[in-house]
Symmetry: C2
């Protein structure tokens, strides 16, 4: 169809595609790709976890321009194996303990395939009704697993939506909060919207994810008007309601207008949990939008024993958590629930003539385009639906508990070796620790531990990352990979001990 | 692993998954899904193009909560077939002529599979070097196919990046432009950043995509300060440089500060093309950021005969086009090139301690997290790479030309029937037309043509959408589906003529 002579006809992945999408050519080639990916996962432990390449490595290996003529899949897969795989840091490796996990799974992958196969763009209900309706339903399902109040569900005037990432979730609710606050201020005080914007103050913990900072930059909230409330070990790095209340009161006395608080359930550095209920009371007192970012730890809250960490969420306006982190749903899938979606729509709606339709004009349907930054959107609810069905809530809870149990086991191992210390209490599957510094270490163990992390990552057996807690360099071991089992954490402990011995003997 | 007894062991897709990601279980189930998707595409013409369901249909068919216990893929696929497919509007159908196309392809799908299989999150170079480096390389490849000036490529201080959608591309460049303009104003005039923000004015055509409006809302540019320059048939709905220049000059005289212009190559309503070179001169005169949105028509510009539509792009600061529309790259893939990425980074960078690393700290690498709204990002360059390799630039050009030829053929058919009129000249693969209104039609053919569109979409043979041009209801027939061939457009013409006859005989 695309005007080329058919050059290969031996069939299979060695042939050249003769059509951009012929069902039988697709079938053959996609089967080949399934096997390639299955083999990759089967062999994943054979690769160094962190890529060992140097900056610019790939430019030397690939041509400077696209080829004129079509190439066969098998030739491309050879390049993938020899040129791409060495540049990959293997997030799906059972020995990847960096950042927070990002879960691939069989069910999530199947759902993504199906989404790609349908190839719809579900900006409005009319553009593919099933995409909007399934998303509403599965967000209700997941909201119920989290025991969210009915106000967050479609049965209670609220609703859920899938965003790409927590960054986008936080941004859209901040924009909704900004809109509400600016409108109130311009009306109450008769000032311009820019004067109003200049008065708005947002709050979050100094442990919050950098996406709150980024959302503020994008929303035009001056960084001077973003308060990162300092935390320390005395509250296990969670926000102190007293300090927050004092800060807010001082801002109000200074003529500023508190409009947004992002509370954290499971901070990026140490999985700290803010006291939601107390924060909610402060937000209510000042009329602030209360958002809860539970990107990582929210996943654990599908288990009744972890659900208390979400207590107080009933006082929030919105909540996000990322099933792509730790609930077996391939990236990207960040779920956001809001109590009043009309505020999102007010901040984000556009209604161009080329998208108008009877169902939207008559308010019979939800159009998710108005709940998000982009217009277009994939059919991402399919993967979340398949994950919930193929594992069942029993299976999902068992998955979370298994990782938390392994983390507890690692914590116990750490306690057996007095060279190490734990830097923050463990609540979920993240352990923060470090090598105790030598006496009179001028940088308090910073470079010692930085060297340990670099040594571990360089030899490729495991990947871990770091943070800083209370000014001290801290090693993070985040457990939650789809292939990670007890044996991998035991092996990680052995290499950590061994590298520590090497360093301490230097 | 996740704690369940293995309930099914007959193998294949009827069994229950015993692990969240076992390579062999994955292999079996993914092969089954490949066949499901191949069959869907094989049979795609058997479905009504536009879903025929009513709002709320799916809630009646699915349970209210997630299942406790795992279910088998085959049961889920039965539900997909019986409950989801009826709610799908089949964007990949050869008879889908609505909006603009959104191309699935074999190569694009394979690339997406591979991206999902690796499951990396490439926010920084270090997080998977191959993801960043391949993206830089394939954006250079595509930039060369578009004959972009070297300043837009990595070899010339510029560079490309994959965004999810054109909405995000336009937003990030507007944020970069805002940052630059606000800093200049606060410095030059000694005013606050909020006063500065209140002076900024953005410009685009009234034919521009609604995403420019949305980006302005998000960036805090008052809608009063977004000028939608009126266009009409006299310029084929492209911006008149004279009107733009006058509008800008009047704003400057009024104490406002022009900071951003979005020119359009291929408008959403009629694929109008703005005169880039003249617009670029105006932007230069006033120090405005000049962005070019070529989401749809930019794809055609890989063919030398369409490239003149991009003439003047050398005067732009940035350009986006969407390979997911018409270049066989599965959604989402919107490519953005900028001449000076440091301005993007200045507007969007955050540098939290938990992401710091040697390569980034030493400026040895690009970290795409600072070129986009989200932090996390998929390995989307794989699909664009596979598309360029598996079809070759020869194949991609043939693909575009084929659709444009079919569109020319449809235009000729239209001209044979005097009941119809063409509403705007055809430059690419979009045809804008309508039924001529009856004499003395009080609404000038609006309801007549709206009825025609509804009749066509309701019977399910084809899907088309509408717009309004110069106040007149206009039918859009956009050709560019991966399965669309000449015979489908011939058949569409027959049903259009037939429905028109029905309506006119009423």
């Amino acid at each position: 169809m695309y005007g080329l002579a058919c050059r290969g006809s031996e069939g299979g992945a060695r042939s050249i595609l003769t059509e951009p999408f012929d069902a039988e050519e697709f079938r053959k080639h996609a089967h080949r790709m399934v096997d390639f990916i299955a083999d990759y996962h089967r062999d994943i432990e054979t690769f160094p976890v962190r890529s060992q390449v140097e900056p610019g490595y790939l430019k030397k290996l690939l041509p400077e321009s696209a080829p004129d003529e079509p190439e066969a899949l098998e030739d491309i897969l050879n390049d993938v194996q020899s040129k791409i795989v060495p540049g990959i840091t293997h997030w799906q490796s059972p020995n990847f303990f960096g950042y927070y996990p990002s879960n691939d799974s069989t069910a999530g992958f199947l759902g993504d395939m199906l989404s790609g196969g349908f190839g719809i763009v579900g900006f409005s209900w009319i553009a593919s009704p099933a995409a909007t309706e399934l998303e509403m339903i599965v967000l209700d399902w997941l909201g119920k697993l989290l025991q969210l109040p009915n106000e967050f569900l479609s049965s209670g005037k609220g609703g859920g939506v899938i965003q790409g990432t927590a960054s986008e979730a936080v941004l859209v609710v901040m924009l909704a909060a900004r809109k509400r606050a600016v409108e109130k201020l311009t009306k109450d005080q008769g000032i311009s919207e820019f004067e109003a914007l200049g008065k708005l103050v947002a709050y979050t913990s100094d442990q919050a994810h950098s996406c709150v900072n980024k959302a503020s930059q994008i929303a035009g909230i001056s960084l001077e008007n973003l308060r990162l409330i300092p935390t320390d070990a005395s509250t296990n790095y969670s926000i102190s309601p007293e300090i927050l209340a004092k800060t807010v009161a001082a801002d109000v006395r200074g003529g500023l207008v508190p409009f947004f608080l992002c509370g954290v359930v499971g901070s990026t550095s140490s999985a700290a949990v803010d006291p939601l209920s107390e924060l909610g009371d402060i937000c209510k007192e000042y009329g602030m939008w209360f958002h809860v970012d539970a990107a990582y730890a929210g996943n654990a809250c599908i288990c009744p024993e972890y659900r208390p960490h979400l207590n107080g969420v009933e006082k929030a306006d919105s909540l996000n958590m990322n099933p792509h982190k730790w609930l077996l749903t391939n990236f990207d899938c960040s779920t956001l629930w809001v109590k009043d979606p009309t505020l999102l729509v007010a901040a984000l709606s556009t209604n161009p003539v080329f998208l108008r339709n009877k169902q939207s004009d008559n308010n019979l349907v939800v159009d998710y385009k108005d709940w998000q930054i982009p217009l277009g959107r994939r059919f991402r609810s399919l993967k979340l639906w398949m994950v919930m069905r193929m594992y069942g809530s029993t299976g999902l809870r068992a998955y979370i508990r298994n990782h938390c149990n392994i983390a507890k086991h690692f914590e116990e191992l750490l306690r057996t070796d007095s060279r190490f210390e734990i830097m923050a209490p463990r609540s979920f599957s993240l352990i923060c620790f470090r090598l105790r510094p030598r006496a009179n270490d001028p940088d308090k163990g910073y470079s010692l531990n930085a060297k340990l992390v670099e040594a571990l990552n360089s030899d490729g057996n495991i990947l871990i990352t770091h943070t800083v807690l209370g000014g001290l360099y801290t090693i993070r071991l985040a457990i939650g990979g789809v292939h990670t089992k007890l044996q991998h954490v035991d092996a990680a402990w052995e290499v950590i001990k061994s590298q520590a011995s090497n360093l301490l003997n230097e």
